[in-house]
Amino acid sequence: MSSELRYTATTQTEHLHARYTGTGHADVTKYEWLTHQHRDTCATIIGQPTLASYLAIADGESIGRIKFEMTERMLQPCGPPPAKDDD
């Protein structure tokens, strides 16, 4: 369970977190924060034509390939999550 859903101080905040994916909160872990950042960045690059073109030129790829790989990367942009402590 991600720390967002554990964060049930008030039902209203809980509802907001469920609705607005990526909203930060006091108990966010480093891994979650970083993953959100990367997913947000990928989404912006896919959505802004100039950024996608800029990357495509730098990488020597087509824009379609850049967008595809960027979307693929959103699945797990920062590697697997760190192992949880048993306690």
Partner: protein, 845 residues
């Protein structure tokens, strides 16, 4: 400081797939394209195939997706546009007034290109009854389109089809005839991979093909069907379906084509799948581990038949057909379609497209993603119009059919089908009809008055790869291209030189390539010349007009001294060695050899170049060196360079991308951390950072406006001007050793002094070059910038307070009058990342 932004040329790139339709409501087909921040209506002439631009409108936002649709029984197509405004708009083209009218504007989310705000993908029902818009993650909304009693277009409130923790690759409207509208989506769920530290869930993550059905009776969207598909699927294509009223035959099998890396799959709910491999280019050097993906698609229906053109990332077009059969039940009206085979063959190769459209008149519109020069013509094309010569039905190209593979290619969906190959060839099925000019992408540009005319020219390096161009533009009523020359490759160095010492202007452009040298002469046109005495079969290291009337070329194997009568004296490098670096001035030449020796030459009074007998060993190979100009009246410059003053500063955080200097001051543009002010203190031989910027900016270009001020562009499309306090500036210059700077305490984890932001403006294009120039002789100096997508714009300083008051008030009133076509707030768009400051938007009108 207050500036007025005037765009000389708007962006010329086409972003995303164009929308085809009869927008004027007559039989003429038209194309609506997005130019990123502009919406443009193009009209191809069905007889000549020439494309003309009918209307362009600035939208003051980023268009992310657009599609056309037509209500059942209607004759006119509408355009739906999604953007970064958090709103969906329905536009109608009014041919009388030649404008787009906004029929509907529905708000659904925040502005900006965000991850969970819909707008990235847009799919319409083929019968024009509904539209689905989707975000990159989670959110999907469906709007129902209909007519009211007075036959006006209506749009419903949105119906949610969200799926949390899902990344969406693509969506498409499924052709189901007049059944409930259906949409297909490619989704990956990340909830398990996010929780599994072993990485197993990530490896097992499946890409799902999901069908969403809009139940028109119950007015809600249901997730009808979801099955795993190829993990490297990236695009979906609509396949005709639905039943024709007359014959009872189906138009097609419905379902979708799933474009995956290396494969195309036809699939519908609960039907056996068909899979074919995407043929590879026959290239022995290709990386066998790298697959090929489809980046642009188009489906065309004609007289009951249909076919697809799919374009790979290499630009190769494939023709894909589906063989299908309507099977009728003799007793009842029931019938279904069976797909017999899916076939693919190589069709032709055209520039890689952002989108393709096929016109009824038999033309293919290729909106190429980077507008590059076509090899044959001298005009430049962003978008090409090709005429179909034939449909590739009767040629020798091999065709691959799913029916030739076990279980139609789906015997083992996790294993790739054996690779198949084709050989690319010149166009056979298509004929180039027309090209539209585009500068996109402008990688760099310089403004110089090279031809010594009234106005300076803009020299731009455009394009990418083998289709790059070097272009000259002249500012006038229109920015127009005057000279374009094809280059055989990417030059790695450029010089210009005079022929004689007393020539007023430079006459040659010398381009050095990896394996040769090209000499161009400058006149009315730029032409290649071969009788200059320069060696063209080797790269050039240095070029110098030497003595009174001679030229000098340094190449890796020698030094050529070309006299005025074209006689050549050549000094050859000893066998086994090459020249690795060279530096020259009017009378002296120093060449560094691969054996780490320096050879020195000097021009004597008779104009002969003489080698100095001693060669100086340097200990290690020289990378670069420089010799100062000869002082007037002297025979030589007194120094020999004290080579390579060893002095460095490694304090720059990421990577240095731009440098400008004035006196001992150096401005360093960092890739992520804006611009640093550096001073060089000769007495202590130190490079010292004494000021920096407060905000992190991803600099792409910068220029010094004056000794204290710089203008810069960043990666996110902003252009801004910052200034250092004059007292700090003079204090630094008065410090002889830089000890004072060293002793200063850093501020905010950076240098002791900070620049102040004077002006900022969001251009909407990555600024690739910026320069302070005067565009008319004796005119005021302005800032001219170029953008990646082909923008050329200027920032004109306003001189009087009255001007500023008048123009800002006018702008404010115009903003109140004119609303953005896509519903974006103009002021917030110009202040996308930082609120716009001290710049008047010249596009508001």
């Amino acid at each position: 400081m207050h500036l007025y932004n005037l765009t000389l040329q708007p962006p010329t790139a086409i972003c995303g797939a164009p929308a085809l339709g009869n927008f004027s409501g007559v039989r003429q087909q038209e194309i609506v394209v997005s130019r990123g921040t502009r919406l443009e209506l193009l009209r191809p002439d069905p007889n000549t195939g020439k494309v003309s631009s009918v209307l362009t409108q600035d939208v003051f936002g980023v268009i992310r997706s657009l599609a056309s649709f037509r209500l059942t029984g209607g004759t006119k197509d509408y355009v739906i546009v999604t953007s970064d405004s958090g709103r969906i708009v329905v536009l109608e083209y009014d041919p009388k007034a030649n404008v787009f009218n906004k029929l509907h504007q529905e708000t659904f989310g925040k502005s900006g290109t965000r991850r969970i705000v819909p707008g990235q993908y847009l799919a319409t029902d083929p019968k024009g009854r509904a539209v689905m818009i989707s975000a990159v993650e989670k959110a999907k909304l469906v709007y129902i389109l209909n007519r009211d009693a007075a036959a006006n277009l209506t749009i419903s409130s949105p119906l949610e089809a969200h799926k949390s923790h899902a990344i969406i690759h693509h969506i498409v409207g499924v052709d189901v005839g007049f059944d409930n509208p259906m949409f297909a989506a490619l989704e990956v769920d990340y909830s398990e991979s996010d929780q599994d530290p072993t990485g197993e869930a990530f490896n097992n993550a499946e890409k799902m093909l999901t069908f969403y059905e809009l139940d028109l009776g119950l007015n809600h969207v249901v997730r009808k069907w979801s099955e795993p598909t190829d993990n490297r699927a990236n695009l979906l294509v609509q396949v005709p379906g639905g039943r024709s009223g007359n014959t009872g035959d189906f138009d097609g099998p419905s379902g979708v084509l799933i474009c995956c890396e290396d494969h195309i799959i036809w699939r519908d709910m609960d039907s056996p799948q068909h899979r074919v491999p995407i043929p590879w280019r026959d290239n022995p050097l290709a990386d066998p581990n790298r697959g090929v993906i489809i980046v642009a698609t188009v489906m065309h229906k004609m007289r009951g038949a249909f076919f697809f053109l799919l374009q790979s990332e290499e630009g190769d077009l494939y023709k894909v057909t589906l063989e299908h059969e309507t099977i009728k039940n003799a007793d009842s009206d029931d019938a279904y379609v069976e797909v017999k085979s899916l076939k693919i063959k190589y069709f032709d190769t055209v520039p890689v497209a952002a989108g393709l459209s096929i016109l009824k008149s038999g033309y293919l519109f290729v909106a190429s993603e980077f507008g590059n020069q076509s090899v044959i013509e001298l005009t430049i094309g962003l978008s090409y119009l090709y005429q179909f010569q034939k449909l590739g039905d009767d040629d020798d190209e091999p065709e691959w059919s799913s029916s030739n593979y076990p279980q139609n290619g789906m015997a083992d969906p996790h294993t790739a089908l054996p690779a198949v190959h084709f050989r690319p060839r010149p166009l056979e099925n298509l004929l180039l009809q027309d090209e539209m000019e585009s500068l996109d992408p402008i990688i760099d540009a310089k403004v110089l008055n090279f031809f010594n005319t009234d106005t300076p020219q803009i020299f731009a390096a455009c394009g990418r790869g083998a289709r790059s161009t070097f272009r000259t533009l002249r500012h006038g009523l229109d920015v127009e291209e005057t000279v374009t020359s094809d280059l055989p490759g990417i030059p790695n160095a450029v010089w210009t030189t005079k022929i004689r010492e007393d020539d007023p202007h430079d006459s040659y452009i010398i381009l050095s390539f990896v394996n040769g040298t090209l000499v161009l002469s400058i006149g009315e046109t730029i032409e290649e010349v071969s009788d200059t005495g320069f060696l063209s079969s080797a790269p050039t290291l240095a070029v110098q007009q030497i003595g009174a009337d001679a030229l000098l070329q340094v190449h890796p194997h020698g030094i050529r001294h070309v006299l005025a009568d074209k006689r050549v004296n050549e000094w050859k490098v000893p066998a086994g060695k090459t020249i690795v670096a060279a530096t020259t001035n009017k009378r002296q030449v120093v060449a560094a050899l691969s054996s780490a020796e320096l050879v020195y030459f000097e021009l004597d009074l008779e104009g002969q170049l003489n080698e100095y007998q001693d060669r100086k060993p340097m200990g290690s190979t020289v990378l670069t060196m420089s010799v100062g100009p000869v002082p007037p009246g002297r025979q030589r410059t007194p120094y020999l360079k004290k080579l390579l003053r060893k002095c460095e500063n490694k304090a720059f955080p990421s990577a240095i991308v731009t440098l400008t200097t004035q006196g001992s001051r150096i401005l360093v543009g960092d890739m992520q951390e804006s611009v640093f002010y550096v001073t060089y203190k000769q007495s202590s031989n130190r490079l010292l950072i004494f000021a920096d910027d407060t905000s992190p900016r991803w600099i792409t270009s910068h220029t010094m406006v004056d000794y204290e001020t710089f203008a810069a562009g960043d990666k996110f499309g902003n252009v801004f001007i910052s200034r250092l306090d004059r007292s700090v500036s003079s204090q630094v210059d008065e410090d002889p050793t830089g000890a004072g700077i060293l002793a200063e305490k850093g501020f905010l984890m950076g240098a002791a002094h900070k620049t102040k932001l004077l002006a900022i403006y969001h251009v909407g294009d990555v600024v690739t070059s910026i320069q302070k120039v005067s565009m008319v002789a004796g005119g005021r100096e302005i800032l001219l910038y170029t953008g990646l997508h082909g923008t050329i714009g200027t920032l004109v300083p306003l001189v009087s307070k009255e001007d500023v008051d008048f123009i800002t008030t006018l702008e404010q009133h115009l903003r109140g009058e004119n609303q953005s076509l896509i519903g974006r707030d103009m002021l917030s768009y110009r202040g996308y990342y930082t609120p716009v400051k001290a710049v008047v938007d010249g596009k508001v009108r």
